[in-house]
Symmetry: C2
Subunit: 252 residues, 2 copies
């Protein structure tokens, strides 16, 4: 089990001992700067509900979220929707369109924000002389793959309440990386959307949140139950860890 110590620090339930956020944040800034300088992307202000791209539409652009929040919704053949990812500042969108030449999902803004549009061809062309651009794109894609993996692991291995806790923890982490406050934030998603994302019903999500509030791990801010306060991210992480190792007797 020593191999664990060599894992990247993005692992499932690692409490954040030394705060890695400043450097992560700076790296994101640098990447945004690079894109801005090299490509002069078109900047567009989007509002909640605006569609950035749509399933079936011909692929041609990638998008970078400079601010705001965005959901990616997959469509199954029978017409039902599934929320498959959430995107925040510094994230790229549209990778799902490369393989088939058409986007496979809808990307919808959940909040007011700024989206940069990048022509894929232009990116490749510019990348020939500026390899860092291509590397930045690859890094974003790789991160997206890592998040997908984490989502799958959550859904496959965690019970309902821990799944919700892990969801909140991840969100808080992401906020921290953007330099936003993590102790208090607004869920831009309904219980139904969260449930859809986590493979739970809205009632179960509601109960899980109530349970976490009861346990003191989160608190609701008066006037509306969309505002969530998180006392300690580490405590949330610890809760996830305990839910998942009810009998740590054989280990170590």
């Amino acid at each position: 089990m020593l191999a664990i110590t060599t894992l990247p620090n993005r692992s499932l339930a690692t409490p954040v001992a030394t705060d890695p956020h400043p450097q992560v944040r700076r790296q994101m800034q640098d990447t945004l700067q690079l894109i801005s300088d090299a490509l002069q992307p078109e900047r567009r202000i989007v509002h909640a509900g605006d569609r950035i791209y749509q399933a079936g539409e011909r692929f041609g652009n990638l998008y970078v979220l400079n601010s705001g929040l965005c959901k990616v919704v997959g469509l199954s053949a029978d017409g039902r929707e599934q929320l498959v990812a959430l995107k925040m500042r510094g994230d790229w969108l549209g990778f799902d369109g490369i393989a088939e030449g058409r986007y496979a999902c809808d990307a919808v803004a959940l909040d007011t924000g700024e989206v940069w549009t990048i022509r894929y061809d232009a990116l490749l062309a510019a990348g020939a002389s500026r390899p860092m651009l291509i590397r930045a794109m690859h890094e974003a894609m790789s991160r997206a793959l890592g998040r997908d993996r984490d989502s799958l692991m959550s859904v496959c291995t965690l019970p309902a309440q821990a799944r919700v806790a892990e969801f909140l923890r991840t969100w808080a982490e992401a906020l921290a990386c953007s330099g936003l406050r993590t102790d208090l934030f607004t869920l831009r998603l309904t219980r139904a959307e969260i449930g859809n994302y986590l493979g739970l019903t809205l009632e179960t999500v509601s109960r899980a949140l109530s349970g976490l509030a009861c346990a003191g791990l989160i608190r609701f801010v008066e006037k509306g139950r969309r505002e969530i306060g998180i006392s300690s991210i580490a405590a949330l992480a610890a809760f996830v860890r305990t839910s998942l190792a009810p009998a740590p007797d054989l280990l170590q």
Copy 2:
């Protein structure tokens, strides 16, 4: 519901009407040829159990599977494993290492096969003069993202038996794309591994397989329950579709 017709044909439960496999297969061949010509990758024969890369190891190489089968195993902080992907002919491995500079998973061969090793730096360098190389890599990454999405949707929306059916269907599809027979193949995974991949227990997987066999959708070949016969992939797809729309009364 017309939007469905504009979706890529990889959608969840679309029965394969016009067989797209020949052209997919040719495209894969072309890509492998391109990589082979442009990069002259080191070719390595691997056997079941061989590790292609390991979580924590410093990133530097990407790998392309020229033949064989491979599982990708994610490790959570508490030491438990989760099978997060299966890779087949033409698939790339190692993308998970780009973001953090270290691989985040183990990649383990499940079968004898040939793996090509590609230095990431060399790929980028060669890509400056051969943009198709970079595009091929992006296409592979995008496909990986699409598969992850499909996995998540399966796990989140399908009941146990349909999840197993969908798993088999996907596998058979992938075999078809490699030009292998789909009506009869060997599962290289134990029930426990399948369950781990699908978020089920091994008993549930076993029961689901028995149920599918009872329904005539699959059959076990004598002498060992690892050999699976699939009469009709379309029938499997139809079964998945019905499991998921128990009340199609409002539709249409």
